[in-house]
């Protein structure tokens, strides 16, 4: 299921060019903002369709391409976690606890952090809210590889555009 970087890149470029052409880019009446949205949408769709329906995140992204702001649960989760860590530090400082109790507290703080951070990760991966832990991490690995390809190609296009717009000698 894991494709090499170059194969994924070719798939992405192919799909992205198709998408950009469909956007009718030569329409001069597009505002910069509309153009930017079209570019991002076509890039995200190309990134997802390059996976050919093999991953959950790509199917989720194609069905809901407009993922706006990060949900507030993220901030709430990190604030709640900070409270729990502070509370456990206060418990540790009241040094009546023995070593075993301290280990127990450390373990539960670690488990709490893992749970909260897993929630945050779920909010970042398209379709993540529906995944179990194993699926989430597998999807994350694939999603990160695809995001890197997307950034790579977009960067190349940006520098090619800059070169093309430079005056010819």
């Amino acid at each position: 299921m894991h494709l090499p970087h170059s194969t994924l890149k070719q798939e992405f470029v192919k799909k992205w060019i198709m998408g950009l052409q469909r956007c009718k880019f030569s329409n001069k009446n597009m505002s910069i903002f509309e153009r930017k949205k079209a570019i991002k949408l076509s890039a995200d769709t190309a990134m997802a369709s390059a996976r050919k329906g093999l991953t959950c995140w790509s199917r989720a992204l194609i069905s809901t391409p407009d993922r706006s702001a990060v949900p507030t649960t993220t901030r709430r989760a990190s604030l709640a976690c900070k409270k729990i860590v502070k509370r456990s530090r206060r418990i540790r400082r009241t040094a009546k606890c023995g070593a075993a109790r301290k280990r127990q507290i450390t373990r539960s703080v670690a488990q709490c952090l893992v749970r909260k951070r897993t929630q945050i990760l779920k909010s970042l991966i398209p379709g993540g809210e529906f995944m179990n832990e194993v699926c989430l991490i597998e999807e994350t690995l694939d999603y990160i590889t695809s995001l890197r390809v997307q950034v790579d190609v977009m960067r190349s296009l940006a520098s090619a555009s800059v070169r093309a717009s430079e005056p010819h000698n």
């Binding site: 890149k9 470029v13 060019i17 950009l20 880019f25 030569s26 597009m30 910069i32 903002f33 153009r35 930017k36 949205k37 570019i39 991002k40 890039a43 995200d44 670690a110 488990q111 952090l113 893992v114 749970r115 951070r117 897993t118 929630q119 945050i120 990760l121 970042l124 991966i125 832990e133 194993v134 991490i137 597998e138 994350t140 690995l141 999603y143 990160i144 590889t145 995001l147 890197r148 997307q150 950034v151 190609v153 977009m154 960067r155 190349s156 296009l157 940006a158 090619a160 555009s161 800059v162 093309a164 717009s165």
Partner: protein, 93 residues
Amino acid sequence: MSGRRSRSKQSSVSSITDDQITDLVSKLQHLIPELRRRRFDKVSTSKVLQETCNYIRSLHREVEDLSDRLSQLLASTDSDSDQAAIIRSLLMQ
């Protein structure tokens, strides 16, 4: 609620799932540039998750910035032939 779920999972499912998760988390560690230098150290799961989230957010930001730049660059190329040349150069990589 997720706490209850994970506790019951640990009692009913064997340690194969734990190993699976450990293996996946180490794969994640190798993928993230921040943590790749610490390849031979043991990094905690919560730290790996934290750095993963930070990395994904930074990639999302980069895509946003590149979309901005591209929208300005492509707006300034007047002719279709220029744009075709750009896309052709992309294909030749």
